[in-house]
């Protein structure tokens, strides 16, 4: 891709999502745009980018942005943090919630590995607790196509082997044409919707646990405070926020709204002072 073309699509990502596109590897952006170009009937990436300068721009903008900002993840990424969630936070929340379900929001869910990982951990935690844990997972992503695919719960031969143990794979997935599909009990735990973290304000629902990994480091400095506030507002009063490894360290934008949990790297709660400000 020519520098001018890369700058154009990077600007598009920034305007629509507040996210900075990593332009250090143009080949990666070109490969993703190649898929969009074929799907939309253009002969090349150059033709697609050229169309972004025409009246076709509005129709093509979101498919381009969605392709460029999609996350590639494995299952159970950052296992140490997830073990804290499974062994400490979920049992704690189950005690606090009583008969009500623990509500989890998995933001930027990508192709689904994060929410399915959480569903597996929740089922395993429930088994340890004698079934005394009800969990609802709300998964969101920017990409409609990503959500459609993730909702099927089907992962390729290669995807299914990244992050899951063999025991987890055979306990929670079955082989189907095209890969392995999550069990219906896992799929039934997860509700999907499209959310743009930077333009969609938090709804009325509050979550006991929010998992949002990979987004903040890509977020432009001028919109990061808004993103942090939106995440904090989505937390229940005693809820927890999980960020990716190292994402919150030294992050001044977090301070007004969120507090790091001592001894639990990557896990935050709402700042009580922020709660007062919200009132």
């Amino acid at each position: 891709m020519k520098p001018g073309e890369l700058a154009l699509v990077a600007r598009l990502c920034l305007m629509r999502t507040g996210r900075r596109l990593d332009t250090s590897v143009p080949e990666r952006a070109a490969a993703r745009l190649g898929i969009v170009a074929r799907r939309e009937g253009y002969g090349s990436v150059d033709d697609l980018v050229l169309a972004l300068r025409t009246s076709e721009a509005e129709r093509l903008a979101w498919p381009v942005v969605e392709a460029l900002t999609a996350f590639e993840r494995g299952f159970m990424e950052d296992p140490q943090v997830l073990q804290h969630v499974a062994r400490r936070i979920l049992p704690h929340l189950a005690g606090v919630k009583g008969d009500d379900p623990v509500r989890i929001w998995c933001a930027a869910a990508g192709s689904g590995q994060d929410p399915y990982s959480l569903a597996i951990l929740a089922q395993e935690a429930a088994a340890r607790m004698g079934g005394d844990l009800q969990v609802e997972i709300y998964a969101s992503d920017l990409s409609v196509k990503g959500i459609e695919r993730a909702r099927t719960g089907i992962f390729s031969h290669f995807e299914i082997q990244k992050g899951l143990s063999a025991r987890q794979m055979i306990d929670h997935f079955q082989p189907v044409e095209g890969g392995w599909q999550a069990s219906s009990s896992l799929r039934d735990m997860i509700r999907w919707r499209r959310v743009n973290l930077f333009s969609d304000t938090p709804g009325s629902m509050r979550f006991d646990l929010v998992v949002c990994r990979g987004i903040l480091p890509q977020t432009a400095a001028h919109v990061r405070p808004t993103a942090v506030v939106n995440l904090a507002l989505s937390l229940a009063e005693d809820g927890f926020l999980v960020l990716g490894r190292g994402e919150g360290e030294g992050e001044a934008d977090l301070a007004p709204a969120l507090l790091a949990l001592p001894g639990l790297a990557g896990i935050y709660t709402r700042n009580p002072a922020f709660r007062t400000l919200e009132l």
């Binding site: 290669f158 082997q161 990244k162 143990s165 063999a166």
Partner: protein
């Protein structure tokens, strides 16, 4: 330096796994079948065994059962690598003493991840 035995009748797979493990500083030995793998373990028990299921002379699962009965045979972390993708067969490998299971074909990232899951890295 940790040691690994690769038991697989395919020289191509042995070479691929060897390259990956040597890159993370394993001392690597190879065996083309289960019987030679067992003899290698009796001589010097490795830390990790990457084990094919379908091999001549002695297959992977027979090797695994015999390995676990040897003195010190509980120690090695065993990762079965096979084209078999039937959940029942994968469950059988785990029940026979495998620590992890990799379905062929696999890439470097998958094998490295399984080594980590099995506590071998």
């Amino acid at each position: 330096m940790k040691s690994c035995l690769i038991a697989d009748d395919s020289p191509v797979v042995r070479l691929m796994v060897r390259r990956l493990l040597e890159a993370v500083e394993y001392h690597v030995r190879e065996a083309p079948d289960g019987a030679q793998a067992l003899a290698a373990c009796q001589k010097d028990m490795p830390d990790v065994i990457v084990l094919d299921w379908r091999m001549p002379v002695m297959n992977g699962l027979e090797f695994l059962v015999r390995l676990r009965r040897l003195a010190g045979g509980i120690g090695p972390c065993v990762i079965v690598c096979s084209v078999e993708s039937d959940p029942e067969m994968i469950g059988q490998a785990l029940a026979s003493g495998a620590n992890e299971y990799v379905m062929k074909p696999f890439d470097r990232e998958i094998l490295a991840g399984k080594l980590s899951l099995a506590g071998a890295t």
